[in-house]
Amino acid sequence: MAANIQPIVRLKNVCKSYGDHQILKNINLELEAGKFYTLLGPSGCGKTTILRTIAGFTDVTAGDVEFDGQVVNDLPANQRQVNTVFQDYALFPHLNVAENVAFGLKLNKVPKAEIDKRVAEALAMVQLADFGDREISEISGGQQQRVAIARALVMRPKVLLLDEPLSALDAKLRKDMQYELRELQQSLGITFLFVTHDQEEALAMSDEIFVMREGEILQGGSPVDIYDEPINHFVANFIGESNIIPGKMIQDFEVEFVGKSFECADAGMRPNEAIEVVLRPEDLDIVAAAQGKLVVTVDSQLFRGNYFEIVAYDTDGNEWLVHSTNPADEGEPIGLTFDPQDIHVMRLNETEAAFDARLEKYEDD
């Protein structure tokens, strides 16, 4: 993260607890202008709480929330330069579509003519140009979703917060909305902070993802970084599918697992340190048993449309998940090959800061 760019929103050592229960543990986070950020984590990990502290619905127990370098801890929600799209949309049932979108503008005493113009623009932006006169109860869930987005965007916020806005939509609509949201964000140049528990959604839409667990940000980075170089077991498991195998770091660029040693691209660890190895199912290629770096026995397979999902076991009893375009024979041994850079080594209990420092050290060499 470049230090010379002033972030729009910064959370500094933010903690939140209810009684003895700690929801957020020392959260540090910076949002730059015009980027799409995602908070990703299982339910109850505190991601919505982060959103609420930025929106001003929840106050922090410790730490600072800053907008443009100003601490806004005590600024109430109605004076903050952010707007929110809620999980349940929170549309006002007593107002129609256009009145819902105009709600915030009316409160801000924007002139009538300008309200009409901006409402029409906002509705056109979410492809609901002709829906202004409809009652909220008359439109579908997907359309309500769009109204909620239009209602927030019409305020021209610097940051748009989205709290699992797609979770109530069906799979097809969700996918369409992912594209639309991404396009909206890029064309408007507004910072989006998107909360979700769906890793596919996060990978598809984000410039940067923060993976959370139990009130902590475990790892932040681009989707590719997080996918290719997960910091620990939890992140590797949560983002995409993975084979996580215990092993040992023999020396720099040499790792041992399933009783064999392999060349790898990782370094900076103690010799013979116990580690975990991540191999993504799509990085494994099936070859004849004799030619494989590893030999595993096929247990079962499922046809997934564009690939076969094969479950196999090695001699140590580790389960291996393999994605292959060709089917395998159940009960038969197969060979697996992979490139050195497909192996990702994770130290046990490494913090994000230590991880980044180690990566920088040996990548500079």
Partner: protein, 271 residues
């Protein structure tokens, strides 16, 4: 088989309605009867209605009753709505349950006891009995009704509606006036109409606190009926029945209207 069942069911329904409505219809029919008793129908006349409208005391009482009902239900609606909002905002379960129980006790306790206690209360405080005492007691027994009608709407309202409004720049007053009140309006109207009907037909409580000189319709009818049958009362009953009918129909249409606006925001709610 099903056709036979169907017929029996209909018959039963008609029987129940006839039993329920026969006395009222009987009363109304005799309001058009010539003569002074309800023993026989002596032919059609509007005479009793003419007497009724010539009876300035009765008309004054009718207007007083209406005034008490309107004033008490408006004030009770305001107090009761604020009460419901307050109860819904209590965070501790025990406080909320205590407040609700105190509210419900007033609903279920017999009117006679409430009336008697008001009488004792007013005399102890040396509040003169009359219009004021009747109004106060009507407000008091209407508040719990309003609370009970408004509270479900308040609790049904998603918390995120208020967050959304604040997010869009609403201050506390705007939250109340532009989000909460419109949302719970159907409950407020139901509460108002319930309070209105309770006040209009209350006898027991009013009977204790009217004192001399001031009277409401139900108390007046009671005291006149004790002096002997007067068909003017039948005419009055007929008019009151008509008024109740209009109120019910009005209430029905308001409900119809507000249910068209509902249903939104309940969709797609999770967590």
């Amino acid at each position: 088989m099903s056709i036979r069942n169907f017929k029996w069911r209909n018959l039963y329904l008609w029987f129940v309605f006839i039993v329920l409505y026969a006395p009222i219809i009987f009363l109304i029919v005799y309001s058009f009867s010539k003569g002074e008793t309800m023993n026989n129908f002596h032919g059609f006349t509007w005479a009793h209605y003419q007497d009724l409208f010539a009876d300035s005391r009765l008309i004054a009482i009718f207007l007083d009753t209406l005034l008490v009902a309107l004033l008490s239900s408006i004030l009770a609606t305001i107090v009761g709505t604020l009460g419901a909002l307050g109860i819904s905002q209590t965070t501790r379960a025990i406080t909320k349950n205590t407040l609700l129980s105190l509210n419900n006790i007033l609903m279920v306790s017999p009117d006679v006891i409430i009336g008697a206690s008001f009488l004792i209360f007013f005399t102890a405080l040396k509040i003169p009995l009359g219009f004021g005492s009747v109004l106060l007691s009507h407000i008091a027994f209407s508040i719990p009704i309003v609370v009970l009608m408004v509270l479900p709407k308040v609790q049904e309202m998603s918390r995120s509606l208020l967050d959304a409004a604040a997010d869009l720049g609403a201050n506390s007053w705007q939250l109340l006036s532009q989000v909460t009140i419109p949302y719970i309006m159907p409950g407020i109207l139901s509460g108002f109409f319930m309070a209105l009907t309770y006040s209009l037909d209350d006898f027991a409580v009013t009977f204790f606190v009217t004192g001399n000189g001031f009277s409401t319709l139900s108390v007046e009818i009671y005291s006149r009926a004790r002096q002997g049958i007067n068909l003017e009362i039948n005419a009055l009953s007929g008019l009151m029945f008509l008024m109740a009918l209009i109120l019910v129909i009005g209430y029905y249409f308001i409900n119809q209207y507000s249910s068209r606006h509902r249903h939104a925001s309940t969709r797609g709610r999770r967590k």
